[in-house]
């Protein structure tokens, strides 16, 4: 074991393998990252497999049920429309009499898809405009910065409400609205990274070798300054899901029957004294997914943080 380590250090050419080993070491050291990794992998897996696990047609299969449960002096839950958690329905049924577990499995891909779309779009916009602002400097930089200022001054949820009001309640509008809330952070993050990266000697060397501006920027500087953005993107998957579910919870979902975590909770909100599981389980799912991606992002940050290396 120690001999192979010595060899790799001595050769010096396998620094990438060293980095990976170091990353794995940090991963093992921080059990919370592993929890985050596990939760986010399971989330992504469920998102992909969802249509095979649960028949999507079940979302339209609504019926009312009459059932009371857990009647004792302390808790008397039960409502005339939904069934309590039990053997038949592990998490009970929702306000439309649909199995809540099935609905949550159907809802996860909806939220995860929006989150991934938002984060990827914001990432691309951030890279293009952030790199341009930092590298061009001068008036272009100033204009891009001032525009991000404008968007950062509006509370995100209010801007999203206006977008949904103007362009109608669809998931496309919702996604675009959240991208518009999110992109300024990425632009500013990449801009500051590029600004510090630009001053490094290798950039000067490239310039001396006669490499073009665009080539230096997008082939060399951007790949070197992208890690903080990837961390931010991982952290933001959770935040985007929180924002989406908050918007659908307050009633801005495209349809009442649509399985989406915030919408499921919203439909259950009216009955939370009789059937608290209708809001507890969808909310708990959001909490877990968000926590998972946050833990993962936090761990990746530690791994890429040069101050923590060796």
């Amino acid at each position: 074991m120690s001999s192979t380590e010595n060899k790799s250090v001595a050769s010096g050419s396998s620094s990438r393998r060293d980095d990976i080993r170091h990353a794995l070491h940090l991963f093992r050291q921080n059990p919370l990252v592993l929890v985050g990794l596990a939760i986010s992998s399971v989330t992504l897996l469920i998102s992909v497999l969802s249509p095979f696990l649960v028949n999507p047609a079940l979302a339209n299969d609504t019926h009312s049920l009459v059932k009371n449960c857990w009647n004792n002096p302390i808790i008397s839950w039960g409502s005339n429309i939904s069934t309590c958690p039990g053997a038949v329905h592990p998490l009970g049924t929702d306000a439309f009499g649909r199995d809540l577990l099935d609905m949550i499995v159907l809802a996860i891909p909806v939220d995860v898809r929006i989150a991934l779309e938002v984060v990827l779009s914001a990432l691309i916009i951030g890279i293009v405009f952030g790199a341009t602002a930092a590298y061009a400097g001068g008036i272009i930089d100033e204009v891009i910065l001032r525009i991000t200022d404008i968007f950062l001054a509006v509370p995100g949820i209010l801007l999203a409400i206006i977008f949904l009001f103007v362009f109608g309640r669809t998931f496309t509008v919702l996604t675009v609205a959240i991208v518009i809330i999110w992109w300024p952070t990425y632009v500013r993050l990449l801009r500051s990274q590029v600004l510090s990266e630009r001053e490094k000697p290798y950039v000067e060397a490239l310039r001396a070798m006669g490499a073009g501006r665009a080539r230096i920027l997008f082939r060399h500087i951007v790949p070197n300054s992208i890690y903080p953005l990837l961390v931010q993107a991982t952290l933001d998957i959770g935040s985007v899901i929180l924002t989406v579910s908050a918007l659908t919870f307050i009633g801005l979902s495209p349809s009442d029957l649509l399985p989406e975590l915030g919408n499921l909770a919203s439909q259950g909100f009216g009955y939370f004294f009789q059937a608290p599981w209708e809001i507890i389980f969808p909310g708990l799912t959001i909490l877990l997914i968000s926590l998972g991606f946050n833990l993962l992002g936090d761990g990746i940050r530690d791994i890429f943080d040069p101050r923590l290396r060796r």
Binding site: I157, L158, I250, P276, I279, N294
Partner: protein
Amino acid sequence: MVFVLFGLSLMIFLLLRAAIPPTFALAPYITPRMTGPQKLILAQSLGVATQSCPSFTAFSSLQPSCLVPVWDQYGAWLHSVLTGNWGYTLLPGLQAGLTTLAVFGERFPYTAQLAIMGAILTIAIGIPLGVVSATHNNKLPDHISRIISLGGYSIPQFWFGSVLLILLALDLRVGGLGLLPTSGALATDCAICFPNPGTIHTITGSPILDGILNGNFGYGWDSFVAYILPAVTLSITTLGALTRIVRSSMLEVLKQDYILLARSKGLSERVVVYRHALKNALLPAVTVAGLITASLFGGVVVIEIVFNLPGVGSTSLGAFNVDDVNFIELYVLVTAAIIVVTNLVVDIVYAKLDPRIRY
């Protein structure tokens, strides 16, 4: 700052004028008794209909000769915004002829009360949590504080609020205390609980402040109690950002040479941490705390709905449902102005506190 406000007004204007028919913009200004020609004159004075428009029906059927290009509407729009000409409210259940501005003015103090209580709680919990986290780096208190801040960061506001309400309902069923109310801006029904409920004069509009200013402390206390759960929900979900900043800036400061000097002088750990390090570490926290407070004004929509509070956040959703454009517009512009002004104030305060910064 002026540029940001201008750009923002332009964006809101374009969204709410260019993308939806001009009849939406006119609706809040029409009163039931108006005749067609009067409506047309109104539309022309607001800059949404052309002078050559033949009749109001032609305008409302969107005839091309009646439509003013969007760019030409901006001046008139800005004029009504700045002169407070926001028209009448379209919200149901309110007395007719009430202006949007009056409704906003009446409900905004409730939102301000919630945002400020939430901010105070966030600062009161977030800063000590960050300090403890830094002084006990990678030990148990640090882990606990990280879990609280990361957990709070990941909790849906509506879920945390609802769980608090469900727990409270259980408590009521057991016949427990049941002290905290589950909805409304006041904990109890005023007629029963106050010695003389008639003495409340509206001064600020916020029940807590009005109670204190009127000397009717029961009334103020009652509203304070009603806002405890909403404020806790608000602060739990926002304190992560503050804790993280305080922790990292405290860790940074504790590495500085002057801390080493203070320690080598033989000063106690308490004095080093709280007299030397904390003051310097709090500088970045001032910025973040200011911005968090400002953003809370726009971030209370979900909490106001869960706890059924009569603030502008929950009202703007009602406005959404009845196509009351002006109320939403007013809310967005006011919160944005609060954020921009706070930004400026925070910059000035920061420069005053940190002599190294000179503009």
